[in-house]
């Protein structure tokens, strides 16, 4: 079941650029992306899956640039969902490779993933609704600056979270050689 859902996500990720800007020239690119992502999922190899995901992202970005100025927000949310499912399931298969998996592990993980997908779709709908009801017009010169500031904030927050976690891990040290009580 995990592989089946992963393949559906790969198809979504590979086909969406063509959904934005249909064209025969994209077929080769989509095929390469699909093969790379499928290799990452089936081996399983997280590096290969990330490579395929970033290639898909670049292809999608290129089609957004080439495409006319129509909005492609539903396609973007679908692309994000596909990337989430692909990367998550690849890592899930990788960490369970060679192990006996007990009952409920796979279903529990898929249920958690489904909740994340539903919440993200809901969050997208909420954002779109807010954007429609409260349009905020920004000067075109200010928009990149605002976006850049937002990017810096997001990256700084991510970096801080990871640094804190690593400091916690190295400061207290992993437990080792404990005798069972």
């Amino acid at each position: 079941m995990v592989q089946l859902i992963g393949i559906v996500a790969i198809l979504l990720v590979a086909v969406l650029p063509a959904a934005v800007q249909p064209g025969l020239h994209l077929l080769v690119v989509e095929a390469a992306i699909a093969v790379t992502c499928a290799g990452g999922l089936l081996l399983p190899s997280l590096g290969l899956a990330v490579t395929g995901a970033i290639a898909a992202l670049l292809a999608f970005s290129a089609t957004l640039v080439i495409a006319p100025s129509a909005s492609a927000i539903p396609q973007a949310v679908a692309m994000g969902t596909g990337l989430l499912v692909l990367l998550d399931l690849t890592y899930f298969r990788q960490r369970l490779a060679g192990s006996d998996v007990g009952a409920g592990v796979v279903l529990g993980h898929l249920a958690n993933l489904a909740i994340s997908v539903l919440l993200s779709v809901g969050a997208a709908a909420l954002l779109i609704g807010v954007a429609v009801t409260m349009p905020v017009d920004l000067d075109p010169m200010v928009r990149p600056v605002m976006a850049a500031a937002g990017v810096i904030l997001v990256l700084a927050a991510l970096l801080r979270a990871l640094t804190l976690a690593r400091r916690q891990a190295s400061g207290t040290g992993a437990d080792s050689g404990q005798d069972g009580s």
């Binding site: 995901a53 990367l87 976690a165």
Partner: protein, 427 residues
């Protein structure tokens, strides 16, 4: 236990960074919506937790295992609740192999609870182990954080070598205590007829042979061979081990020694054991079913060590190495110290049988192609035969044993005691 970010957390960070950079560079807000599911998944992750695995226990099926048998093992632990699955990885000693498909087991666990894992293991080779190592790995619900712990719960494990029945055992030259199955030259009460002689004072009336007495007009009595038991000492070479377990020279040595011990004990003989190698350990000769278990457990504890503290076994006391005992030495004949010891024992007039394991057969998979050429193997074989011939000159009943054949086939050549040099009389 401290949680650390997993590879998935780093991957998500990289992909998010790509998305955000592309969104800013291309000025397309749709790309930020691509990042939305990844951000939602990140925000749903509970974050690093501080939790401890406790009350770790490991239980093995009671009783000693036998080589080739299956053994049940149960691991229990109290695991904290983080929402994600827990992975249990028992690190097994080389004696054991898991019977399931995977080395580790992943169990779902909704909250803080006791987890229990039961698995079956195959006993690959004989030996002992007194401690096991168990790793626990716990993930959070989203798979972004993982914590690991290691425990070493005590576990007492003894795996005895596999034994097979030997029907025709080598006969000793000398026997000792009464109540056995070996015929002695001494005459007295027994079941095997020996001779008829004239009746003398003290003879029992029920031994009178009436047909002969009536014919000869004089009383004659039947005489029988007495039956006595033998004393066997198994001498095991633990200087070297050729090949890979569970098919190494030491494994074949232990199985052969175990089979001989069980078979001799079954016919009420007294059996002892001496492990001669880096360490010299012995089990005094005794009879009975309890001695069978003692010897098998002693064989399970045999381990190879090249350092030798005791070079001469002849200094051992009479109770450990009786003069009249049949000594059965089992060795691949690689270490000179063992060969010299066998020579000394035979030189003292002791009854010695040597079962020489063919190490060249066991090392076929491990040596280089040049060393495995037929010419080299033939030279080894000739060298070995020469060594065995020299030992036979000392009076040792030596035989070459290829491990592919059962040990009984090799013992057929040395079943009967040969002639001894000098005037030695049986008791």
């Amino acid at each position: 236990m401290t949680f650390r970010p997993t590879a998935l957390a780093y991957v998500f960070s990289v992909v998010l960074a790509w998305i955000v950079c592309l969104a800013v560079a291309l000025d397309r807000v749709e790309l930020l919506f691509v990042a939305l599911p990844l951000v939602v998944a990140f925000l749903r992750a509970p974050g690093p937790a501080r939790a401890e695995v406790s009350e770790v226990g490991l239980a093995l099926e009671p009783g000693a295992g036998v080589e080739g048998d299956d053994l049940g093992v149960t691991v229990t632990a109290l695991v904290p609740g983080t929402g994600g699955p827990v992975e249990i990885l028992p690190v097994l000693p080389p004696l054991l192999a898991p019977l399931g498909a995977g080395r580790a087991t992943v169990l779902a666990r909704p909250g803080a609870a006791q987890v229990s894992w039961h698995g079956r293991l195959r006993c690959r080779a004989s030996g002992t182990a007194d401690r096991a190592t168990v790793f626990f790995r716990i993930w959070d619900r989203a798979g972004f954080w993982v914590g690991e712990s290691r425990f070493e719960p005590p576990a007492s494990l003894v795996i005895t070598p596999r034994v097979e029945a030997i029907r025709f055992l080598p006969r000793p030259r000398r026997t000792g205590a009464p109540f056995g199955i070996h015929l002695s030259r001494k005459l007295g009460d027994g079941t095997d007829f020996a001779e008829i002689r004239p009746f003398t004072t003290g003879d029992r009336v029920k031994r009178i042979n009436w047909p002969v007495s009536l014919r000869m007009n004089r009383l004659y009595v039947n005489r029988f061979h007495t039956e006595s038991s033998a004393e066997i000492v198994l001498l095991v070479d633990s200087f070297t081990n050729i090949g890979r377990r569970p098919n190494s020279s030491l494994d074949h040595t232990l199985r052969a020694a175990g089979s001989l011990a069980v078979s001799y004990l079954r016919q009420h003989d007294r059996v002892g054991l001496i492990e001669f190698g880096g360490w010299v350990r012995w089990t005094r000769a005794a009879a009975g079913p309890a001695q069978c278990g003692t010897i098998l457990r002693s064989l399970a504890r045999v381990s190879v060590s090249p350092a030798g503290f005791l070079q001469d076994l002849t200094i051992l006391s009479e109770t450990v190495l009786p003069g009249h005992a049949l000594i059965i030495a089992i060795s691949p004949l690689v270490d000179e110290r063992f060969v010299r010891t066998v020579e000394r024992l035979a030189g003292q007039g002791r009854d010695v049988i040597l079962l020489a394991i063919r190490g060249d057969v066991l090392s076929e998979d491990l040596i280089s192609r040049r060393a495995a050429s037929p010419l080299v193997r033939r030279l080894w074989s000739l060298e070995r035969e020469d060594g065995l011939r020299a030992l036979r000159g000392y009076g040792v009943r030596a035989v070459n044993w290829s491990p592919a054949l059962p040990v009984e086939a090799a013992l057929q050549a040395v079943r009967r005691p040969g002639r001894v040099r000098g005037a030695e009389w049986y008791n």
